[in-house]
Point group: C2
Chain length 159, copies 2
Amino acid sequence: MSTRRFPTRDELRIWRDYLETGDLVRASLAARLQRSSGLSPGDYAVLLALSEAPGGRMRSSTLAETIGWERSRVSHHLGRMEKRDLIRRENCTTDNRGAEVVLAPAGQAAFQEATRPHLRDIREIFVDALTPEQLAAAGEIAAALRAQLAHPTAPRGLA
Amino acid sequence: MSTRRFPTRDELRIWRDYLETGDLVRASLAARLQRSSGLSPGDYAVLLALSEAPGGRMRSSTLAETIGWERSRVSHHLGRMEKRDLIRRENCTTDNRGAEVVLAPAGQAAFQEATRPHLRDIREIFVDALTPEQLAAAGEIAAALRAQLAHPTAPRGLA
DNA sequence: TCAATCTGATTGACGTGTCAATTATGCCCG
DNA sequence: CGGGCATAATTGACACGTCAATCAGATTGA
């Protein structure tokens, strides 16, 4: 009985629609963000974290944890952002291995420029598109999918 | 009145959950596919299209249309797949500009190896995670979001 | 003290995606 | 015919992501 049938045509269509639509939404928001501020979603995430940190500065590893990225990803992204003067990197005084990421003026400006239009876009593209019931359902669906990922029906050696 | 408020904290949480969960699902499926067959989702999409084409061959531009990719993306991906002997490229006899993409034996084998586990994974990770109502709601949410993307509340010069 | 080890961060190789430019061929019309 | 334009596909430059390897500075334990 654990061997149920393959997904039906309808189920496959919904699955595909679900994922592809998520991508479209993401892409549309990213395009608007880029147009309004020159920032990528990654840039925005970094600047948001920094702007909420005291002094606009943060240890690189703390940043990684805050936005949920791998450390090497952070390193690469900071390298690109540093070239554009959005952030600076300084040596950490309390731990010579460490690096501190500092919000640069251009970064702060771009972030402030970006925030309001970005929030408005999220409302327009996502929130306004759905009825309150659909919005709630979206949250429940996400939760159900996460639960399934955390506890797969048939463990296959994947975390 | 067209200037409604920014999204609430809850709305933002749902929005973020929705997109991030989609990514997690995608990543989990991709990891399983990779493990079971050595194929990436892109590889799978290409091989699926080819395996459904008569003779396992297809014009490169037709392939692009079929799977909804940009042509340059197809070119790059085919280059990588060709190096792994999953496909071959031949000159098109009817149009000397054109290229025909041909399913290679290794590609056919990998695809057949991949299909059943992949469909089962989709069922386990996505379909089985949701109640029938949630599945239906997921379809409706995707449709609503697409409709919104096609007809933005406040056009901002974006297609 | 100082060697083994742990940890913070960077780096390099590579897959993947976009955009703009390029190449080569087909095609149409004066 | 032949110049001009459309089309097929590739290419190059770059952003972004992962993984594995590396490097330097902390830590700690005989």
